[in-house]
């Protein structure tokens, strides 16, 4: 089909554009795909991801909802059971707390309990770094990992933003798609035109190295890459891309090679993804470790608003370099 035909060509686009392109591509390909959320129609979404969609696909396929997150997710579950493929937009990832019950109790458990597949995607503009404050900066991915039945993806690049979203939409399960707001316009990259699929559950080696593995996802991948470049050390950077399913093999293979691991994310520390990956490594690669598994994360605090406070709370490039240095020197 034409999508595949054109798949060879690429364009340099932003992370944001790649998300938008993926949605457009899937909506054009499959009439059952629709977007549902707050201010996604006439306004094109708080971040303009669905700009122009209402004109292109009509109000029924780019559905502006009332201010009601449970309604967005619950409605999507019912529509999905009846054959639609809803892509829900949370205006900010933080608002998932308002639709949490529908997500964790209805969507996540329906197939296990009753064999009813729930092909919905929840788009979650997440993360901080621009003074969003405590309610517009959260990274809720670990809540989802503690909820069996949800898949979780966290693209770091424009190409993965597109490829993972297309896979998420086609997946017959609820997929939490975390799109980091800090990457929307700052990250650009070559993205295949038309059909471009990145399978769920496959990590990506973003940088090859032998001395240390930095395991990251989302915005932290870019911090890790920059730190590795600036340090000029032989650091491997593993971009998880999917958190559930988690690419355990890729993690263990890399750590067995480098014998040292740093896990980096922007989310808070306790029971975060870093804890899970660290636990996995110390369980499965204990004999291969030459140093303690370290975590670079936000401390257990709400994300403050004022720049100096926010910078103190969120992991910075220097923190990343420092953490790498320490491990390299161990």
């Amino acid at each position: 089909m034409s999508a595949t035909a054109t798949a060879s060509a690429t364009n340099e686009v932003t992370y944001l554009q790649a998300i938008s392109d993926a949605l457009r591509h899937e909506m054009a390909r499959d009439p059952s795909v629709l977007c549902i959320g707050e201010d996604i129609g006439a306004f094109g979404g708080a971040f303009k991801v669905t700009d122009g969609f209402v004109e292109e696909f009509g109000a029924e396929r780019c559905l502006d909802t009332p201010l009601a997150e449970s309604a967005i997710i619950g409605t999507a579950v019912g529509a999905a059971a009846e054959g639609l493929r809803p892509v829900c937009e949370m205006q900010f990832a933080d608002f998932i707390s308002c639709g949490f019950d529908q997500l964790v109790n209805v969507a996540a458990k329906l197939h296990y309990r009753q064999g009813i597949a729930v092909p919905i995607v929840i788009r979650l503009p997440s993360g901080g770094g621009f003074s969003g404050g405590p309610f517009h900066s959260q990274n809720p991915e670990a809540w989802f990992l503690q909820t069996p039945g949800l898949k979780v993806v966290t693209p770091a690049t424009a190409a993965d933003a597109k490829g993972l979203l297309i896979s998420a939409i086609r997946d017959p399960n609820p997929v939490c798609y975390l799109e980091h707001k800090g990457l929307y316009r700052h990250v650009k990259g070559e993205v295949p035109e038309g059909e471009h699929i990145v399978p769920l559950g496959e990590a990506r080696i973003a940088r090859k190295g032998t001395e240390l593995t930095v395991i990251a996802y989302g915005s932290s991948v870019h911090l890790a890459m920059q730190a590795a470049e600036e340090l000029g050390e032989d650091i491997e950077v593993l971009d998880l891309r999917s958190l559930c399913p988690l690419d355990r093999e890729a993690i263990l293979t890399s750590v067995r090679k480098t014998s040292k691991a740093l896990i980096a994310h922007e989310a808070t520390r306790s029971c975060g993804v870093g804890a899970e990956v660290a636990a996995l490594i110390s369980e499965e690669a204990f004999e291969d470790l030459d140093a303690p598994v370290r975590r670079l994360t936000a401390p257990d605090v709400p994300i403050p608003f004022s720049p100096p406070l926010e910078q103190a709370a969120l992991p910075q490039l220097d923190d990343m370099k420092e953490a790498c240095r320490e491990l390299l020197a161990y």
Partner: protein, 356 residues
């Protein structure tokens, strides 16, 4: 194609209200399903008391007319989210008693195969998305199915139930508001059985929730929930309204929960007079009388239906008891789906829908 045929038939039938009546056989069926529900739940309660039902036990004693009368109006391709007092709706749609009883006992032959218990089930092959415990989450899910019907221009209806206590929850409001804005083809049955667990109406709301329907932009009607035909006619009108593109309806059914919230509940908070009063309005006995008095049934016929039902439930109980417990290895299977599959169609016993 079966799809479009069915819709076509439905379409055409809608244009001919003559069909929309109850035949003698329909009335026998309404009675039969209520009796079946009563017998199933009595049998299940016995199994519970015999220790054969793990966990807790809930029934809809006294509310049989609601789920039976409402589900009876639906066509094969309509969809339901059935709740915990509504076994009758499962039976009308085609769930056999053995699968209900086996589910309560956590057997492989149960509707969920042991994955879930008590009333937290629904048969997807019969057009039902079974309830979750959190109330009233399914009101939104039913609205979502209705949204799919509406966007595909299909003359189909989604129907769901909730207790009066559940109307206090925020998700109820979101479901009503959303359905009202988009005039979704959904029928909401509010079962006011006087209590939410132990909580009486006065502590659930200041004003009867049916009053709220018009503030969401659709009609709210109040019916005798212990009169199966009253429920049927109200549901029929609501389903017609939805199918015709005229939006949702909220039907409040006045009834009484004649048993405790669950089998563990001694109901010490319920005034005995209240139970006595409602006992006199038992939906099954009342309908039995009416069948004889108004619809020319003989007492033998009515008794016949009762004894047939009892016999069938006994058979089913034996079958359920023979069903094995599930293979433990299934515990870690099925968390994720490999592919999406359409829900199946439900049984539609109402003569209007033609021979099933």
């Amino acid at each position: 194609m079966e799809t479009s045929d069915a819709s076509a038939v439905a379409d055409q039938r809608i244009r001919d209200p003559a069909h929309m009546s109850l035949t003698r056989e329909d009335r026998a069926n309404l009675f039969r399903h209520m009796v079946m529900m009563r017998d199933c739940e009595e049998r299940a309660l016995t199994l519970y008391k015999q220790g054969k039902v793990p966990g807790s036990f809930y029934d809809g004693r006294g509310q049989e007319a609601i789920s039976v009368g409402a589900a009876f109006v639906l066509g094969p391709r309509d969809r339901m989210c059935i709740l915990h007092r509504d076994l009758g709706a499962h039976l009308v749609r085609g769930v056999t008693p053995d699968r209900y009883l086996a589910n309560y006992m956590g057997r492989a032959g149960g509707v969920t195969g042991g994955k879930d218990g008590n009333m937290h089930f629904g048969d997807r092959r019969l057009g039902c998305v079974g309830m979750v415990s959190m109330l009233p989450d399914m009101a939104l899910v039913a609205g979502g199915m209705a949204l799919a019907f509406k966007t595909r221009r299909e003359p189909r209806v989604a129907m769901t139930f909730f207790g009066e206590g559940s109307t206090a929850n925020g998700q109820w409001h979101e479901a009503m508001n959303f359905a009202g804005i988009h005039r979704l083809p959904v029928v909401f049955l509010l079962e006011n059985n006087r209590f939410a667990y132990s909580t009486p109406n006065e502590l659930e709301f200041a004003v009867d929730p049916v009053e709220r329907a018009h503030t969401y932009g659709f009609p709210g009607v109040n019916v005798d929930g212990n009169d199966v035909e009253a429920v049927f006619w109200a549901a029929r009108e609501a389903a017609e309204r939805a199918r015709g593109g005229n939006g949702p309806t909220l039907i409040e059914c006045q009834t009484m929960r004649m048993h405790g919230h669950g089998a563990h509940d001694d109901m010490r908070y319920v005034p005995p007079e209240m139970l006595e009063e409602w006992e006199r309005r038992d939906p099954i006995d009342r309908y039995a009388e009416r069948l004889v008095a108004d619809y020319g049934f003989s007492t033998d016929e009515v008794e016949g239906i009762r004894s047939e039902a009892r016999a069938q439930v006994e058979e089913c109980a034996a079958k359920a008891l023979d069903s094995p417990l599930p293979d433990p290895r299934l515990a870690t299977e099925g968390v994720f789906a490999d592919a999406w599959e359409p829900l199946g169609d439900g049984q539609a016993p109402w003569s209007y829908w033609g021979p099933s």
